[in-house]
Symmetry: none
DNA sequence: GATGAATGAGTTTTCATTCAT
DNA sequence: GATGAATGAAAACTCATTCAT
């Protein structure tokens, strides 16, 4: 009996999760292409081959669906960052690994990148009831992790103490985002690898050379 | 008699322009606070103390109103840039003047800053019928002007030739925008002047020291 | 002094009448092309090169303008009919003259013809506040005049007494209108002169041959 | 089980069709009374006891609703004509059957009659996106059918060859429409049966008597 | 649990009409 | 008398959300 339950429920659950994922994927695709306001629940339902009612069984309203989508993307990004920053090597190597990983994550997932820009930049209106603050907190957490790497590098004497670690992190993020943005607009003209030229200069400049 | 005529017609015209400006100011305020999609024509009309009809006498539709607003702001920004980059002094001084002027322009006009972010960043959906391209072209023009200053500085041997001038411009913009963004989110914690620390490092690094 | 007045006022009056006529001509042109509901007062004003205010100095509202237009057209038609039916010759000749004159009037004035159809046919909605009844009364008056000619022709023994004169008039109108309609739709395929074939048959059939 | 399914699905469908029909009936009533431009979607919705949204679930826009209405009426009329002209008897009898059937159809359905007039007559503006041409084509098809009967009657020697069959059809239509119009305006004064007097004369005149 | 027909508040837009200059 | 800027009611249409089946 227990076995039955253990198997019975999970199967349904798995299917449910699968449907939920399908809806979120469709929503990511549509929102990233056309924007939150230009996509209706009916369009998502139709594209995902569900009925509107079903969407409302998974998410309490349109905003909730969006929030779920955004949150999952943010967590995926943070996870990628955590892995990269936890990679073996000294602080400069960790950061380099992160720059490459971030590039790979986003250039392989354009919809995610578009959403990333529309949410982290552009003073997000739409008061999606606190989504903002949630995301900002997550992003701040990410910045802190990068800051820690800079700090650790400074403490070890690897990096010069030119700026507070936090601003180091900010500048690094600012540069990588800019190159992602350029790449998104015109991948031919601005291959993401260009970022390496600039970050190399950046690291050369902050590094302590014996 | 002629004087009368000369004054009589402009008076109406001047008033009309004044009303137009009032509408645009109201729209700037509301759009920047709540976003294009969350502001209805009725709200703008009410706030500006005109009737909806009057809005439509000035602008053919909501998009046209928005476009007019954005275009005027963009031109104002470019004008500010042109003046700063044309100021006396060597290339490093010109760029410094620009950084300060940009900061002053935007920190004195928060609504303008919000619109600036929501349009230049955030992969703008809503294809406001080519507004995008128009703006991008204007922004590109601005970047070219900054690039020229870098180029001229390099030609004179003032700056090292570390990157193409265009990417120099991009990085400079990216840094100033980042600090404007930080300032907007928390002016106490991130006074715009912080930008000076980073740009000083930037210029020290690219400068040729005799 | 009196002379002055006599000349002074009439001049102004003449000009006023001229302007009024210009407005009505413009309105005829536009209404006949696009229909009452698709033409705004602003369009008429612009086309006639007056301001909206001026239109309202001549006509109390849009309906009044339309009514004035229609009424003048109706009177013009009745006048044409009266002249034709009063022409020399026997009853058959009078009616023939009328058929030709009606054709000439309308084929030379397509806008008038379109308005004629849109008002006499098509159960006129738009309750243009009794305009309907007015026009119907005028049209009925016209039908009576034609009826009288038929009656007179019957009394003289020229026409057989196959139908009441009123229905004779109705049938004659119905035939001429039909051919005008066909002509309007495709003047090449349906030249108005075709009406002669049918009316000849009609008259041969109702005529008393000695 | 199968029966259940067979009945289960159609039930919803049947209800949907029923609702659609209710909306169209209401629209017919209102449009025929007040005209297309004087009836708003809200009025139709209210009268039909649905919400506006429901109207838009059935029809993509106001024009589409109107087009659907008109097209159904036109097909109904053509069907009636086809049946009448296919009735047993010689050509004169077929045409007589048609005249009677047309009278019955329209005098039993005044709204349909009003719409019929407002669409077939009155140089229709509003270019309801080709509805015009569609209807004209349908009407032309009807005229062709009547023409064929006249032609067949002529070929058999039943009718004189006084006019091309097409114009015979036109004249017949013109007469029946005129009498329907008279009846609509004042049913007491002009009972539709009056049409018989005129058509009898018409047929006597075109018939070959041995 | 899934469905999709029904809802109606809210949005953009038009246009006849007024009235201060 | 002419002007045209301002008005605002009313129209067409959208879409997030509900709920009976």
């Amino acid at each position: 009996m227990q076995q039955k339950k253990k198997k019975a429920l999970p199967r349904k659950d798995r299917q449910k999760q699968y449907h939920r994922k399908q809806i979120l994927n469709t929503a990511l695709d549509l929102f990233s292409k056309y924007g939150y306001h230009n996509i209706s629940m009916h369009k998502i339902a139709k594209e995902a081959e569900f009925s509107v009612g079903t969407l409302y069984n998974f998410f309490s309203d349109k905003e909730d669906l969006y929030r779920a989508l955004i949150t999952e993307l943010a967590l995926e990004f943070l996870d990628c960052m955590k892995k990269a920053l936890g990679s073996p090597g000294d602080e400069a190597e960790k950061l380099h690994t992160y720059i490459v990983a971030k590039g790979r994550l986003f250039t392989n997932n354009i919809p995610m990148l578009r959403i990333y820009f529309s949410e982290t930049r552009g003073s997000s209106f739409d008061a999606k009831a606190g989504l903002d603050k949630e995301l900002r907190a997550l992003y701040e957490k990410g910045l802190q992790q990068i800051s820690l790497v800079f700090k650790s590098g400074m403490d070890k004497g690897l990096f010069k103490k030119l700026l507070e670690p936090y601003y180091m992190a900010i500048v690094l993020e600012s540069i990588t985002n800019t190159f992602l943005f350029l790449w998104l607009e015109d991948p031919q003209r601005h291959p993401y690898e260009k970022v390496e030229d600039v970050t190399r200069l950046f690291f050369e400049n902050i590094r302590n050379h014996p």
